[in-house]
Structure formats: C-alpha cells, structure tokens
C-alpha cells in the first residue's frame, strides 16, 4: 500500500482526510508542524508528501527548501504542494525549490484531493519505470517482453496511437486494426492472447466481432475488453457483468495507463 505524509494541525480535518485516504487504499500519516515533517521524513520512507504551505513552526516553503538542499534527505522524495496558490510567483518559486506537483486547496474537496494524490502516485511510478525503460534498452526494447499478444481494434487514430503505444511500453505485443471488417478477419484467424475492441466501428461492430469470436474454439475463453465512447456507465457495467467480456470501459474516462493496468489485472486474474 502506498504511504503518504500530510500536514494538518486541525485534528477534526485531519481525521476527515485520514479516513478518506484509508478508504482509498492509501496509508496516511499526519503531522502538525513543519519541523515534524522533517522528522517524519527521516524516520520513514514515504511515496508522497502532501505539503501545506501555511503551517506552524516552519513554513511550507522553508520545509521544501530544506528537503531539497540538505543532503540528509532523499532527493527522490516526491513532494506535492497543497495550498492556495493564487499567485504565479508562489507557484514558480515552489517549482524552483523542487516541488513535484501542486494541488489547490480551494478547488478540491477531500475526495478530489485523494483522486489527485492517486494520479500523482501513478504518475511518479510510471516516470520511474519509463526512466528505467529508456535507460535500459530504448523504448523498442519493451516489445513482446511479456510474451503476450493483444489485438486492438479501434477506428479513431488518436486512440490507436495513445493506447497502442502505452500497451507496447507495458511490454505487450500489440496488433492494431482500424476498422471492423479486416478486424474481424484477423480476429477469426486467431493467434493472440487478448482482444481489446471498440464497439462503434465502420464495417462490422465490436458486438458482432465478440459474438463471432465466442463461437470459435480458440475464441471461447479469450479475455476481451470493450471500449466505448457513447454508452453510459450503467450500461457498460451491465455488459461487463454479462459473461461475454471481462471488462468494459468508457473511452472517455480511461487514461492509457489505466487501460494498461486493467490489462495486467485481467491477465493476472486469468492465470
């Protein structure tokens, strides 16, 4: 479970945040002052520090400066500034001082704060892995690392590139097809480990491809993920609960990384 540290001196509010973090699967520690932050960071390793700027004993900016300039502290520690950054100079200054991100206090309710934190955590994690990938063998080295082949059917080129690239970076061998008819042919020819398909496509639609595939021997049990731009959330979960497909997502709500994680998840469940 990812571990985070946040600063809040009002006990009541700290409780609210802590509860929120915990229900979202994050381990959260709370301290009340700037100096306490420095102490805590020395004692424990955190995936992220949510640093309020206006705190007692030592201001957020001073804490930030200390964490970045003093060699005693881990340079790689991720710090997200939490404040009313109404002035661009404030934001710039924190950036110069080495903050990794910002969350505005007035715009976000606690649930939204948690969502942002999670996004940051994912982002930081991916940055790590991409760094490793890049230094290891350049991006092409990721191809087929996992030994699984995915057939990806999607007619909008923007999404093909976005999702396709991300899946390849994740280590999958990806075959891309841009419309239904050739997509159906390739699907029926077999030889891949998962099908991800859009529902609305020119030629043959995703629904039909899925049902045709399920009638074949090799296609009966293949994991399938559906993407859609136009169905509402309720309908999507209905489709997912019906057993023909493993997951269904709305194209407009999922980021490439989220799709990659879903793919990993499905493969893991299946094995």
């Amino acid at each position: 479970m990812p571990k985070i540290l946040f600063v809040e001196d009002d006990q009541f509010i700290a409780e609210i945040y802590k509860k929120k973090f915990e229900t979202s699967g994050l381990d959260a520690d709370n301290v009340g002052t700037g100096k306490a932050v420095l102490r805590a960071v020395k004692g424990d390793s955190y995936d992220l520090v949510l640093l309020d700027l206006v705190i007692p004993e030592m201001s957020g900016k001073e804490v930030l400066k200390e964490l970045r300039t003093n060699d005693e502290y881990d340079k790689n520690l991720k710090i997200v500034v939490f404040s009313n950054l109404s002035s661009a100079e404030d934001r710039d200054e924190c950036l110069q001082l080495g903050a990794n991100g910002f969350i505005s206090k007035t715009e976000y309710t606690p649930s939204e704060v948690v969502e942002e934190i999670q996004r940051f955590l994912r982002q930081f994690e991916e940055q790590e892995r991409n760094g490793i990938r890049e230094s290891a063998s350049g991006f092409e080295g990721g191809l087929g690392r996992r030994g699984k082949k995915i057939l990806f059917l999607e007619d909008e080129s923007v999404f093909i590139e976005m999702f396709g690239k991300r899946l390849r970076d994740e280590g999958y061998d990806v075959v891309l097809k841009g419309e239904g008819v050739s997509g159906l042919d390739v699907a029926m020819a077999g030889g891949f480990d998962m099908l991800i398909t859009d529902i609305m496509m020119p030629g043959v639609g995703g629904h039909e491809i899925v049902s045709r595939l399920r009638q074949t021997d090799f296609g009966k049990n293949i994991p399938i993920i559906l993407l859609s731009a136009s169905l509402e959330d309720e309908q999507l979960s209905e489709i997912a609960e019906g057993s023909a497909v493993d997951r269904a997502f709305s194209k407009t709500r999922i980021t490439p990384s989220e799709l990659a994680y879903a793919v990993n998840d499905v493969f893991k469940k299946r094995s």
Partner: protein, 554 residues
C-alpha cells in the same frame, strides 16, 4: 292509365324539410365563398340531390303510369351527384380539375344517360304497378362506387400526409359522411324490397331522405366549420328579415285601424331592434374571428418554439458527445507525457503540462455537465432508489467541504434532528450532488460568517434540508430565476466568474424526481440566503421494497 297506390302519409313532412335544408345549405355555401371551385362542386352535388328529392316526391304523387315511368327513369340522374362529389374531393385537395378532366370524368355517366329512356332502365309492370330495376341501375352503381372509392382513397392519403389539424378533421368528416351515405343508400333498396310484401316498404322508404339530410349536414359542417361565424351572421340576418316579413305581412290581413297602428308600431320596433341585433352579432362574430386567428397563430408559434427547444437539446447532446473524444485524447496524451512515456521532461515543462491537465479536467467536467443537462431535458436520467439514511449522506457532504470552508475562514455547521430519521428511498449519488451544489454555492458566495446546514423532520411527512448562509444573498425577483439553466445573477458573476450556472438547475430536477421541492429565500442583497430541499418521507416515485418496513413506522 292509372296506378292505384297509396301516397304515403308523411311524404311531405319527410321530403320537403330535407329539400329546404338542402337549399339552405347551398345558400350558406355560396354566401361564404361563391367563387371557390370546392364550394361550387359541392353545391352542384347538393343541387343534384335536391332535384332527386323532388323527383322522389313526384314518383309518389304522380299516378299516371306513363308519367310515373318517365319520372322514375329520370331519378337515375341522381347518380350524377357522384362524379361531382369526386370533383369536389379533387378540388378540396387542391387539384382543381380542368375542362378536359371534368369531361373525362363525366363521360361514363353521360354515356349512360343516353339509355335513360330505354328498356335498360327501370320498367313498370302495368298490372301491379311494381317497378323493376334495370341494368342501367347497376351500370351507374358500379361507376358511382368506383368514383366514391377513389375519392375516399384520395382523401385518406391526403390526411396521412397533412399535419394541419383542421384539414385532418375535415377529411374525417367528409369520408365518414360519404361512407355512411354509401351504406345507407345501398342498403335501403334491399330493405325496401325485403319489406315490400309486408306493406311496410312504403313507409320505410320515407325514412330514406334522412340519409340525405345527414350527408348534406355533415358535408356542410365540414366545409363551414371554420366559417361558422359567417354562417351565424347570415342566419341572424335571415331570421331578422323573416320576422320583419312576418310582422309586416300582418298589416295586410288586419282591417282594424287600431290594430294596424299597433302592428305598425311593433313593426318599427322590430326593425330597430333587428338592425341592432344584426349589428351586434356581426361585431361579436368579428371579434371571435379575430380571437380565433390570434389563438391559431399562438398555437403555431408555440409549436415552433417547442421544435426549437428540442433542436437545442439535441444540439447540446450531439456537441457534448463530439467534444468528448478530443478532450479524452488530450487527457490521455497529457498523462503519457507527464508519466514520461515520451522521454524525460524538465520540471518546468512538467508544470505547464500539469496546468494544461487541470484546465482540461475543468473542460471535461463542463462537457459532462452539459450532457447531464441535455439528458435531463430529454428525460433520460435513470434513478436508482435505495433505502438511505439521509443524515449520513448530508453529514458526509458537509465533511467534504470542511477544509475549504475553514480555509476561507467561514464557519461550516451541521445540525441533525435528535431522533433518527426513517430510511428514505433516495438515489444517493443524485442527492449527494444536489446537496453538494448548495453547500458549495453557499461557501463560494459567502465572504465571512457562516454556512449552516440543518436537517429536520417537517409535519411528520417530509424532511427538510436547509442550507443557510451569511453571504451575498439575492433580490426577491431573482429567487425563482436562480434555478434556470446557465443563470448567474449580476452579483454572482462578480464574485466567481467560472462555473457553469447549471448546478441549481440540475439539483432541482434531481430533487423533483424524488417528488420533492427545492427553493430559495433571501432577505435581500448582502443579507444572506436560505436554500431549501424538501423531500417527502415516502417517495412517490419509488416503489417500496418488501421488508424495509418504512410504511409501518412513524
């Protein structure tokens, strides 16, 4: 030679009034519009029927066999009304037939007329004075049927295509009148033949003219429906003139001088009042006509407005859907860039990307809001009601805003009822949004002071959520407007320029879908506001689940 048969008793009473009625109908038709071919064709049809009626009377009255035969044979000309009815139908639908077409249509009938006096037509058996129908009758019947069928078909087709209510109603009347007449006049000969033996046949045949009465009545009404005002004026005029004649003519019969003077005085009075009556009726009718016209144009304008509103909703829906794709692409690529999928990125660039990400998120949220609004408008929102503890829901929402409120230096308080509320059938996500909107708004528009949220049971049958703040308030006249779409008062735009102005609209429709109400009060600008949500404890829009036990509790 003479045929002895009884002239039926009621002959004059059954035929003459119908004849007069028919003449009256023709008069009214011409008085409304003598130049339209629609009217002319219909009038000719009526005239033919009237002559046919006269002929019927003649058949009963003339006892000389040879004359009777002549008159009976002529009666077949009654069928000529049929082609004119077809011409009327064509004119009515706007396809006024030219000379050539008219002659072409009349041709079969004119051809048949050549044989009127031949043996192919009716024959009278001189021994018993019984009539025998000739082949000519069937010939004319056949063509009449064809023409009637054709006109009915044309009218029905036209009705399907027309969207004007008036025309549709007119067509229904005409078609019904026609079909009724066909059945009536087709059945009657059989009925008469059947009952001739019993002697009832003659009496029965007296009822036949009633069919013409109904036919003429319906058609005249169909044509004059919209011009009844003119008809009423004409009727008043005729009535008045008739009274004048009746009163005035008495002068001719009365000898007594006193009576003459009295009648003359009465006559003058009747003339004066008659003129006044005619004038006032005309005024009245003019006014009603004007009103009718205005109401018609209002109805049309209303229809157009409704279409426009639908188009607007559809547009919002389509536009929002189209906007989703590019926005998602931006979001996806931004996330990849931020994650470093395209290579390491400097901190400054990273910061810029974060800003773009935030802005994009707001844009996506706006599009979602618009889509929601269009879905609300189209009535396509699905609600999933479940037993909910309302206090928990409200408390959780208030917690959400605690940090923000504290940050702005505003007190945010929650007051819950001492006794726990019964569980209510509520769609939690929708109600959460409605409550959030209120609290969010209050915090946004309160510089200093407090926002207090209270929940209480009201009158034992409803729960009231009140969000009261010490913020900018609003004018009394703006109170209802706040809940419209995209509405911001002048004051709110000064404080908080971003924000779509949709929150209250969405919240209100959610609350109303629970059978509740949402409204706002304020003592004036700068004096704070109070926003209310009132929900019935028993949700009229949600089926009660078994075993939830709400109905017994109170």
């Amino acid at each position: 030679m003479q045929c002895i048969f009884q002239t039926p008793m009621l002959l004059w009473y059954t035929h003459i009034p119908v004849l007069l009625f028919s003449l009256l109908a023709i008069f009214f038709l011409f008085s409304v519009d003598a130049r339209s071919w629609v009217i002319r064709h219909l009038a000719i049809t009526f005239i033919i029927f009237s002559l046919w009626l006269l002929d019927l009377v003649a058949q009963w009255v003339i006892h000389d066999v040879a004359m009777n035969l002549f008159v009976s044979r002529i009666s077949i000309l009654g069928f000529m009304a049929m082609p004119f009815f077809l011409l009327f139908a064509m004119s009515f639908l706007g396809r006024i037939p030219g000379m050539k077409q008219t002659l072409l249509l009349l041709a079969p009938f004119i051809f048949g007329c050549l044989f009127i006096f031949s043996n192919l037509n009716i024959q009278i058996n001189p021994e018993d004075c019984n009539t025998q129908t000739g082949i000519l009758y069937y010939y004319f019947s056949f063509f009449s049927f064809v023409y009637i069928a054709r006109s009915v078909w044309m009218l029905i087709q036209a009705r399907k295509q027309s969207r004007e209510q008036n025309i549709r109603k007119q067509i229904v009347l005409i078609v019904v009148a026609m079909i009724f007449s066909v059945c009536w006049f087709a059945l009657f000969p059989f009925l008469i033949d059947y009952t001739v033996s019993t002697g009832l046949g003659d009496e029965l045949s007296q009822i036949m003219p009633a069919g013409i009465l109904i036919f003429i009545g319906m058609l005249t009404y169909a044509m004059l429906r919209r011009r009844l005002f003119d008809v009423k004026i004409a009727a008043t005029n005729i009535f008045t003139v008739v009274i004048w004649i009746l009163v005035g003519s008495q002068l001719l019969f009365v000898q007594n001088l006193t009576s003459k003077i009295l009648i003359f005085a009465t006559f003058i009075l009747v003339v004066i009042f008659g003129i006044a009556l005619m004038r006032s009726v005309r005024e009245e009718m003019r006014r009603k006509e004007e009103l009718q016209r205005i109401s018609d144009s209002l109805a049309k304008a209303n229809e157009r407005l409704r279409e426009l509103d639908n188009t607007k909703t559809e547009f919002i829906s389509i536009a929002s859907h189209q906007l989703r794709t590019p926005l998602t692409a931006i979001k996806g690529y931004l996330s990849l860039l931020l994650e470093g999928s395209y290579g390491a990125v400097s901190a400054e660039v990273m910061d810029v990307l974060e800003k773009v990400n935030l802005v994009n998120r707001n844009l996506i949220q706006l599009v979602e809001d618009l889509l929601n609004v269009s879905r609300i408008d189209a009535g396509r929102i699905k609600y999933s009601f479940e037993p909910t503890q309302l206090e928990t829901l409200v408390a959780e929402r208030v917690d959400m805003f605690m940090p923000i409120a504290r940050d702005r230096g505003i007190e945010l308080g929650l007051r819950l009822p001492k006794k726990a509320l019964p569980k209510m059938m509520i769609d939690p996500s929708k109600m959460r949004e409605a409550v959030s909107n209120l609290v969010d708004n209050s915090i946004k528009y309160t510089e200093k002071g407090s926002v207090i949220v209270s929940v209480e049971l009201v009158r034992d049958e409803a729960v009231r959520i009140l969000v009261e703040d010490t913020g900018i308030g609003f004018r009394e006249e703006d109170g209802a407007k706040l809940f419209g779409k995209f509405v911001r008062t002048q004051e709110t735009t000064k404080v908080y320029v971003s924000g779509t102005g949709l929150g209250l609209f969405v919240g209100k429709s959610f609350v109303e879908a629970h059978g509740g109400r949402m409204w706002a009060e304020s003592d004036g600008l700068g004096k704070g506001s109070r926003f209310y949500i009132e929900l019935p404890v028993v949700n009229p829009k949600a089926p009660m689940e078994n075993g939830s036990g709400e109905e017994g509790e109170k």
